[in-house]
């Protein structure tokens, strides 16, 4: 879409806000969906429709063309190791388009394995490298099959306030010197269990290990993505009508309490898994 077309379109939208919509690409939904990642799509749709904002969802699978001008928001979840390898090549082919779109303000949420693939590279315990698409300057290393996975509840402090979720990952992610994390860890492991950082943020792209699913229980993050998507589509700030969010806040608080209770029971902020 050219700039002129976009301006004209935006004007038409402003006259009739009820017909606003965002265009969302869900990458590899049938593969990268292990930890309830579908919940993020459900939450975005719910929060758009509750405000009369259209939610146009396209599923993008291996081999499908990806038009970076056609979307305001991309989502990618986590998969099993074996399956993640299957889509990595296809994602790398789409990588330059996705990166360029994010540079132009497209919003993105990359969770768990999707976060790893949106970063620079993934290094297996035997030294094998799976290239990522480099949205985030970060590298994930797998410490080997005998190392504990990072499994448990997470509470973060982020620029959007407190964020809660659950993590389950074998790889440890290390950010480049100028790469900002998404948040700092209050409870849980985060990127690597060492430096207190969790996830990564670049423009309107968020990478995180949190599922649970993350968006339903963290409406501030869901709304930040919707706002960025609207801004990308219409070229200006658009106000979001507030929602009651009582059920969302109750689920958020409950998850935060569970994280607190379990970390106290474990006697440390880290709850190690057994696999």
């Amino acid at each position: 879409m050219s700039a002129a077309q976009r301006v004209g379109y935006t004007g038409a939208m402003a006259a009739d806000p009820a017909t606003r919509s965002i265009r969302v690409a869900h990458l590899y939904p049938d593969v990268m969906n292990v930890y309830g990642d579908r919940g993020n799509v459900i939450a975005l749709r719910y929060r758009c429709e509750a405000r009369g904002i259209g939610f146009e969802l396209a599923e993008v699978n291996v081999g499908d063309p990806f038009d970076p001008a056609a979307f305001d928001l991309v989502l990618i979840g986590g998969g099993q190791d074996r399956e993640q390898r299957r889509i990595a090549g296809d994602l790398v082919a789409k990588g330059p388009d996705i990166r360029a779109a994010i540079d132009r303000g497209m919003a993105a949420l990359a969770v768990c394995g999707g976060f790893q693939l949106f970063a620079s590279r993934y290094v297996d315990h035997d030294g094998g490298v799976i290239p990522g698409i480099g949205v985030f300057d970060a590298e994930t290393r797998h410490p080997g099959p005998l190392a504990d996975r990072c499994i448990g509840d997470v509470v973060l402090m982020t620029g959007l306030g407190e964020v809660v979720g659950f993590e389950n990952h074998g790889g440890r992610t290390y950010l480049g010197p100028r790469q900002a994390p998404f948040g700092t860890v209050r409870r849980g492991f985060g990127n690597n269990g060492e430096d207190g950082g969790e996830g990564a943020i670049y423009r309107n792209a968020y990478g995180t290990y949190l599922h649970g699913s993350v968006l339903p229980k963290n409406p501030a993050l869901a709304d930040a993505l919707i706002l960025a998507a609207l801004r990308h589509r219409y070229g200006r700030e658009i106000e979001l009508a507030p929602l009651a969010d009582d059920a969302e806040q109750a689920a958020h608080q409950a998850a935060a309490h569970v994280a607190e209770r379990r970390s106290r029971a474990a006697g440390s902020p880290h709850i190690a898994g057994n696999h």
Partner: protein, 470 residues
């Protein structure tokens, strides 16, 4: 100092372990800690690390194991009932108590004080086995047959990935006697892969009824052929990745089945279908998944050479397992307990609720706990298609330790004002307030939520404690 020959040492060790285990069972009951379905085995295993081997190998008719993500308990119960009909002595572990300690507990309960199982030569062991316990159980019990019901994602924080479970099963097969029969669900490509490299006998079972093909697949946990990496195509899909599959790469495909269900009719309280080699059967369980479970039991019954009449009677006489479509009367309401432990199981229960006659509307409560046995990660509720019943509800509730997560999920699924009620007592009060005598109420709990609910129902005199059930 007592000096014993090696075999006598073993006997002495087994005897001490059995005594210790039996003591633990008595203590557990006296302390009101329940029936002791795990503790005796745990104690005995401390004394004798090979107690399951030492006791299990006394069984003259050998052992059969049942494993898989879903359907272990139901399959085992159907077979146990058929064995009873055929008058074959058997012992089997209690529902849900399917780790090595649970298997050990059952063997200890049956053993005499000196570690001998009475009439062992005439007895068959039938053991429901946790997926991750299968290697240890196979190595200890040297089973004559293992039935694999299905493989779905389940409690990823506990078991790891589906691929991890598949790898454990292949490890188990390396420890299984080479002449054992594998009973495999042909409809599940992940289970079917176990046939690769197995030189011993295989008995395939599967569904053959085009009326149950669906587009509502839900979360799929098998997409690619392990042999060639090709993707699966389906000429008929029943649920998730189960159906008539074929690899588009190497052409490997669903096997011809020896035990097959056709002409399936599902009603709320029963399923009727034809089984090859048996004839028309009716069982007081419903849902396509239970027909599949029944086939696994029938296949095992055929391997054990049970008469067809015993199989028919076994299916007809099976009582729903603890919480699996179990019917409980409470002040005139018919409470139907539908245990759901993972997305695949839950999707099938909700598909059932979407198919039955809702009358003036369904009353449904979903109970979500997040204790160790449930999985501490509640993300899986977002993989369940609660949406498919949203227009058929009269009253609905969310409950359990994670009631807030459940209420949010149901609200986002479009359920009309799901009421959040934390504990089982408050939930039952809310259900009684909103329904009338004669109403059906579907209660859909996770495992420990079911235990809590049963405890409250027992307190109200509606059920007995589960360890007192047969």
């Amino acid at each position: 100092m007592l000096s014993l020959r090696p075999t006598e040492q073993v006997k002495a060790r087994v005897a001490v372990a059995v005594m210790a285990g039996k003591g633990a069972a008595v203590a557990s009951r006296l302390l009101g800690r329940g029936g002791g379905t795990a503790l005796p085995g745990l104690v005995a295993e401390r004394v004798d690390g090979t107690i399951v081997r030492d006791l299990g190998r006394q069984l003259g008719r050998g052992s059969v194991l049942v494993t898989g993500t879903n359907g272990k308990t139901t399959t085992s119960r159907i077979l146990a009932r058929a064995l009873q009909e055929a008058r074959i002595a058997s012992l089997h572990n209690r529902e849900g108590s399917n780790l090595m300690r649970g298997i050990a507990s059952e063997l200890i309960a049956r053993a005499g004080p000196f570690g001998r199982i009475p009439a062992a030569a005439e007895t068959l062991g039938l053991f429901e086995t946790d997926e991750a316990t299968l290697p240890a159980a196979a190595a200890s019990l040297a089973p004559r047959a293992i039935a694999f019901t299905n493989l779905f994602r389940d409690q990823l924080d506990r078991y790891g990935e589906v691929d991890t479970v598949a790898a454990l099963w292949r490890d188990a097969l390396a420890l299984t006697p080479k002449d054992a029969t594998l009973v495999l669900n042909a409809d599940d490509p992940s289970v079917a892969e176990l046939a690769d490299g197995w030189a011993g006998p295989i008995h395939w079972f599967g569904l053959d009824d085009p009326a149950f093909a669906t587009e509502q697949v839900g979360a799929v946990d098998a997409r690619w052929c392990r042999t060639c990496g090709g993707s699966f195509a389906y000429s008929r899909r029943y649920f998730a990745h189960a159906g008539w599959w074929r690899c588009t790469g190497c052409g490997r495909a669903r096997a011809e089945t020896e035990t097959t269900a056709t002409d399936i009719r599902l009603e709320l309280e029963r399923a009727t279908f034809r089984v090859s080699g048996v004839g028309e059967v009716t069982m007081p369980l419903t849902g396509l998944y239970n027909v599949s479970n029944a086939l696994a039991a029938v296949a095992l019954a055929k391997i054990l050479e049970l008469p067809a009449a015993a199989v028919v009677a076994g299916l007809a006489g099976v009582r729903p397992a603890f919480g699996r479509q179990e019917l409980v009367e409470l002040e005139g309401r018919r409470l139907r307990l539908m245990l759901c432990k993972n997305p695949a199981g839950a999707n099938q229960v909700f598909r059932l609720l979407a198919a039955i006659d809702p009358g003036p509307g369904l009353n449904v409560a979903v109970l979500l706990n997040d204790r160790f046995a449930d999985g501490r990660d509640v993300s899986w509720i977002w993989d369940v298609d609660y949406e498919i019943v949203k227009d058929r509800l009269a009253a609905c509730w969310a409950s359990g330790d994670r009631v807030e997560d459940m209420a949010l999920r149901l609200r986002y699924a479009g359920w009309p004002s799901p009421e959040a009620v934390k504990g089982p007592a408050a939930l039952l009060d809310a259900v009684l307030a909103a329904t009338h005598a004669g109403n059906d109420v579907f209660l859909v709990p996770t495992y420990t939520a079911l235990l809590d609910l049963r405890a409250e129902l027992a307190r109200r005199g509606a059920v007995r404690e589960f360890w007192k059930n047969d």
